[in-house]
Amino acid sequence: MTATGIGAPVRRKEDQRFVTGQGRYVDDFNRPGQAHAYFLRSPHAHAAIRSIDTGPATIMPGVIAVFTGDDLAADKIGGLICGWMIHSKDGSPMKAGPHPALAQGKVRYVGDHVAVVIAETLAQAKDAAEAIVVDYDVLPAVVDTAQATKASVQVHEVSPDNTVFNWHLGNKDETEAAFARAKHVTKIDLVNNRLVPNPIEPRAAVGEYDFGTDNYTLYTTSQNPHVARLVLSAFIGVAPEHKLRVIAPDVGGGFGSKIFIYAEETVCVWAAKKVKRPVKWTSDRSEAFLSDAHGRDHVTHAEMATDENGKIIGLRVHTTANLGAYLSTFSSSVPTYLYAPLLSGQYDIPAIYCEVDGVYTNTAPVDAYRGAGRPEATFVVERLVEKTARELGQNPAEFRRKNYITQFPHATPVIMTYDTGDYAASLDKALEIADYKNFQQRKQESARRGKLRGIGFSSYIEACGIAPSQAVGSLGAGVGLWESAEVRVNPTGSVEVLTGSHSHGQGHETTFAQLVSDRLGISIDQVSIVHGDTDKVQFGMGTYGSRSGAVGMSAIAKAIDKVIAKGKKVAAHVLEASEGDIEFKDGRFGVAGTDRSMAFGEIALQAYIAHKFSGQDLEPGLKEGAFYDPTNFTFPAGVHICEVEIDPDTGVTKIERWTAVDDFGVIINPMIVEGQVHGGIAQGVGQALLEGAFYDESGQLITASFNDYCMPRAIDLPSFQVGMTVTPCPSNPLGIKGCGEAGAIAAPPAVINAITDALGHEDIAMPATPQAVWRAAQKARMPMAAE
């Protein structure tokens, strides 16, 4: 390992600009002549719009224009799309209602977009929005996930009972048979609470149109600018693809919520041409709560069957997934193909059957949030496994070990083939770091102080590296999920890597440069990473699903291989040897068996001056591109152990220890990987203890600011003990599995398993707030009194 190569904890190159305030986020861009957009949003969860009178607003000071859905329709601007087709059990396609960028005739959730005001200043736009007169016919709303299909309210005409799809996966008959012969069946009812992603940078967009060239530019907070361009051009029809440049500069966190193509950026691009001015919109936090796609929101009943030896023989799951009022860009894939295929967890379960009902409600659209489907699956599996172990009177760690998959490759009953792993190794290491053997002692010590101590396990698995294009195509994805890269070597030997991945906190400028440094033997300072601009990078699928290492870097590795191959040809001419005798090692091209060699940079120069070979023999220049399509998903897995102490008098749960042992395959930069684990755990702990998005019966979001929605703060979290085990991934050239979501996936069941262990009963929902835990603790003390 070199100081800056693969495996080195290199300090991040991008940090210089971030710690000095020189980062450039979308809201930092101001274009000459820029006007400001403000969206009038629906105050009602469900209403027919009888009329909109924009007249009073248009005469307000500074107002340039006011637009409604009719104006978009007149320009033939299409609706927002959902890019993953799910088919119901009966083979019928999902029922997707219209999703106009600005409402047409109806609003379906609080925050839905009714009109946009473009004005000289944001303050003027806001003032004018208040002058728009909208005559609403307020309708009853459906909010509750579990009740959605039974409600008399109909969110979309296409779906009379609010069902988007009734989908299933697995083998029903085999699963029923397994339950029929089971010795023991454990049942559980779970709610996976709705969350608001809340990257600290709110979404923003600046649209611009150049009448001279007919070119559009959109600066946007996107995790996948090329996908945004494709959707805006091919589906929504705002601008032709080759005329639209999408720039996603520094982006302040995404966690999934910036994958999607939203109404606001659509309107900014379109309006820029209408008003002949650049148009800027920046979300405030209140708007973000209302209109960023939310995450999770499942209601599940699940059962696990075990035989007389304590082996798991079957799992059946029924989930109702709230998709909100409209289908967001990838929403349909999250509770289906990103969920049920993970229900085997780390366990050898011969029969699994899962049914999922996707439903509409009058709430914000729900889509991928860190982990996307996999946290929900892990919560089901790990809560059930824990409860089963308790009911069988078995040690939860050893019950897991007994049921672990140990042979690879392993095909699960839910369409996944796990390629490699060593789950027991992670468990052993985690037990040691967590000092599990002395837990009982610590529990007694807590009891002496009147406190309840509990320990909870989570043996999670996830499918990352999304994904083989053919496979996802057969499951309904509208796109392929490969990644592209281009490696441009300059005459001076410095290198630019153009990647379709996008960094919004992941540190690609450093890790990708480490790969180049490692492979080409040059300093990371000689490498720059170019991303987030469709005019520079030809195409890319973006960053989500922990795919940038496994897929994005594999594309770079493939392009580097081509650069080296071309470099060998150049070297053969320059060193006057046959190409087969040229070796590339430690940054030098040499002739095998001789001391004749030249550095990478010297060969780069020779490739460009092209004096030593004729253009007929070899093309000048040194630049190669590659598209990498993965052969399988990757399967990061690990064991997290959470130890809590509860004060039964206050209900406060304190996390005393957190142990994470993860197998991410080959690690490029351990410092960055550990940081990803920390951040993921914090979001998972947030879900388990603090966070929940709640609507009241009328569909008002009652947790719509940081005052009401409890984000994890430093004081809510412990320091984490992070360990690693490594089984290199055989499915990509670098052996990488991915690390971005592990913590968020692993953490919620670890926390709840610890709390239920401390309480001695299973009756606690997320978020386990002090009030909820206090009630549960009272119940544990006096079963009758708390009823």
């Binding site: 710690v19 809201d27 600290i200 966190g253 940081f706």
Partner: protein
């Protein structure tokens, strides 16, 4: 319109502003000091923290006119020439940032914590004192380490403390 005159990062500035202009808007829009960020509208996140007369304030909750005749320091104003402030260097060294959006506010708060609480900060103190700063990326683990290390480094670099 109201006239405000203040010193920002050592430079005097005077401007006519709408009286409702927030200090953060004045910094970002009038002075184009975009290192100070806005992450919320309820004074919760701390992405906007700057120093006003040497003390941390949330610039989203301060009017520009309130800063009249004051000295304001932003994230752009704490490095000495080419050298990072010890707290900036500590955030980089200890990977106390990921997306970087909360970072300017975190660093400005951290320096203020050291000014108030001294250079030997234990984990619990740091976690409690970061109450007004949200980070969604890091889980705070490395921020806590960075603040502790930055606090110690500030003891070794009295020149920069004096520059505040």
């Amino acid at each position: 319109m109201t006239t405000v005159s203040l010193t920002v990062n050592g430079q005097s500035v005077t401007a006519d502003v709408d009286p409702r202009t927030l200090l953060v808007q004045f910094l970002r829009e009038n002075l184009r000091l975009t290192g100070t960020h806005v992450g919320c509208d309820t004074s919760q996140c701390g992405a906007c923290v700057v120093h006003l007369n040497g003390q941390a304030v949330k610039s989203c909750t301060t009017l520009a006119v309130q800063a009249n005749a004051s000295v304001v320091t932003t994230i752009e104003g704490i490095a000495e020439g080419g050298d990072l402030h010890p707290m900036q260097a500590a955030f980089r060294e200890h990977h106390g940032l990921q997306c970087g959006y909360c970072t300017p506010g975190m660093i400005m708060s951290a320096i203020d914590i050291v000014n108030r609480k001294g250079n030997a900060l234990d984990e619990q103190t740091i976690r409690a004192e970061l109450e007004g700063n949200l980070c969604r990326c890091t889980g705070y683990h490395n921020i806590v380490k960075a603040v502790a290390a930055g606090a110690q480094a500030m003891a070794q670099a009295p020149v920069q403390q004096a520059a505040e």
